[in-house]
Amino acid sequence: MAADVHSKGVTWDTPNGNLAPVEHLPNSRSESPTPGLVEGTEPGASQERAMFAHTQSFEDLTADVELTGSHHSEVEEVEEEQQGGLEGGVEGGVEGEGGGGEDAAVVEPKPEVQAVVREKEEDVTSETWRSHKKHVFVLSEAGKPIYTRYGSEEALSSTMGVMMALVSFVEADKNVILSIHADGFRVVFLRKSPLVLVCVSRSGQSDGELWRELHYVYYQILSLLTLPQLQRVFQQRQSFDLRRLLSGSERVTAGLLRLLEMDAGLMLNATMSLPLCSTTRNVVCTSLQAASSKNLVFSVLLAGSRLVALIRKKEQHLHHTDLHLLSNLAASSSSFRQGEGWTPVCLPKFNASGFFHAHISYLEQASDLCLILVSTDREDFFNLSDCKQRFLDRLKKRNVYQALQEALHTPTYPVSQVGIPELWHFVYKSKSSGLYTSPELPVPYRTEEEQERLMELYRYLHSRLHHPTRPLRSIYRCTNTENLLGWSTSGFELYLCFSPLATKALAMSAVTKLLKWIRKEEDRLFILNSLTY
């Protein structure tokens, strides 16, 4: 992949006088034409304390991977290329199957569910299996298969044995194998004793990006077992078959891998908030705050993967990774729709050594509003069930339940609201709040393949802005189908996608205009105050 990137080394002089960093008083939310570039004053910055654990984006996840070089270099450069976009792999479409249920009460499962089953049933010697863009394998140090994204683990035991042999061979030399680059392929290893995680990718992503994804898979496993339990079973028996303890979680992991491909939040280490008028949001937040209970640590209200409200215990911060894991868990099983779910869950970034207990339910049967209440007490179910009821009653009494339901019908906004015709799409992350906003995907990106391709382009920009040794401040990139701009300051990260007719000058002026628009809309697009119980 690296071969088709041609740096023309064009330097980018002060692109626009208006955008030079300005001195801002903390918390000044001025209507100044130069929105704050400093952390804490950017559009969408939270007013008081941060809502999330404060971390740098992906460096945090790869911090324990040995990478040399400093993260602080202030390289500013622009890179332009003319090429046909990133190489897209061959990906079969998902055909929805319409089997006839004889009985009205028989409900057909969603196509995604069927896809997961098909993937697990794949023949590992087939061409389809070989041609997947990204494989993920998890094995034990004894070389026993624990997880494969495609096909069955049993069928891959010798392949995984070879992987472990490779790892051990390099380690015998007091060395660590990080990755192998072959023709069009990358094999990336992540060693997290007692596990070994391996990714085989043809996606053109950098090693760093792939490590980040493997870390997610690792944390996913910890969230089900906790680290001490994982270590204990292998201490007791090196050849333990971990699949016994992970059984039933295949859909959770498959869902996570899917999110890594489609959801910018996992790349940005940020959460998307549901656009909501600020008065409604305030009532929702205060109602959730009031529905507290002694052992509650976090209350999270989600609309799909979008955050509506988050309340936390004083001094406790939820990490993005943990929030993504929680939200993926909730989305992975229909059992939470059946009634109220009650499950142990470890939040590995918060504390990998113990379980919390999560009450997971939808506000109403058919609603998309999912409430997750996280407690320290395993006996807390009925207290939390009561919290949920109090929250719901209050929403209804104060007449915001309806408003909230309506907001769900428009969970996003068209990019045309910004008023820049050439702007097709963008992703804006406010670093201090850890939230991001993004408009709905426009027509050219409606299909799943196109959506994935756009995400790939953003991921590429992201990896350049976060390069471990040579991070860029900004990058401009042209393909045949779109022009892209990525830009990172200490306050925000911004990724823009323009029509191929846009020029660099236009892109630069669009940034100013967009930041102003986000500032104007920040009440609606972001969650500005972070409440505690």
Binding site: A105, S247, S332, S335, P344
Partner: protein
């Protein structure tokens, strides 16, 4: 829904994918989800009211996940349960071995919990006798020995599902009456908070 008082705690136990969730779905929501199954994560709680004679009884049903991962956690789900529906798949002999494990566990830790052994997916063995891996009479002998009840159900067709839960509610209703007169003096205020642990019917 959840604010309603629960009269009897009922717990669903059994190996993964034997059909516990399908049974509860059929009983509570009158539907059946075909195709690849979605494992329960942890447990799901649902309340359902049922009339028995002139009384209305609310069952609090805990549908637990069969995965071994949650085994250490299982006590919190069955503790204080008045009824346990221990499921096994009629087409899978190993699931019956697992059912025996749960019976033993209940006999050791929850002697007041009534046990209902439930063979699931009856529709699969009805069309094709050779699919049956668990013999009706063997289970019947076992059930008599341990003083339990025995049902064979299909969540797909709905066969025997209501009968099972109705029997659970009736047995509870009868026994709650005895229990109430025996324990009337023992009720204290603290119990309210923990009523789900030792759910009893205080009228």
């Amino acid at each position: 829904m959840s604010a309603m008082r629960i009269d009897a705690k009922v717990v669903m136990l059994g190996k993964e994918s034997v059909g516990k969730t399908s049974l509860v779905e059929r009983y509570v929501h009158h539907r059946f989800l075909v195709g690849p199954y979605q494992n329960t994560i942890g447990a799901a709680f649902v309340a359902k009211s049922i009339s028995v004679g002139d009384k209305v009884i609310t069952l609090g049903i805990w549908d637990t996940a069969g995965s071994e991962r949650y085994e250490a956690m299982s006590r919190i789900y069955y503790r204080g349960a008045r009824a346990a529906i221990v499921c096994y798949d009629l087409t899978d002999n190993s699931s019956f071995q697992r059912a025996r494990f749960w019976v033993k566990e209940l006999q050791t830790f929850e002697e007041h919990c009534k046990i209902y052994l439930c063979g699931t997916k009856n529709d699969l063995v009805e069309g094709d006798r050779s699919a049956r891996q668990v013999d009706y009479h063997d289970v019947q002998d076992f059930v008599e020995e341990i003083g339990a009840q025995h049902f064979e159900t299909s969540s797909k067709t709905g066969n025997n599902v209501d009968a099972l839960f109705t029997k659970v509610a009736e047995d509870f209703s009868n026994s709650a009456f005895e229990l109430l007169s025996a324990e009337e003096k023992g009720v204290n205020l603290d119990q309210k908070k923990n009523s789900y642990l030792y759910s009893c019917c205080h009228h």
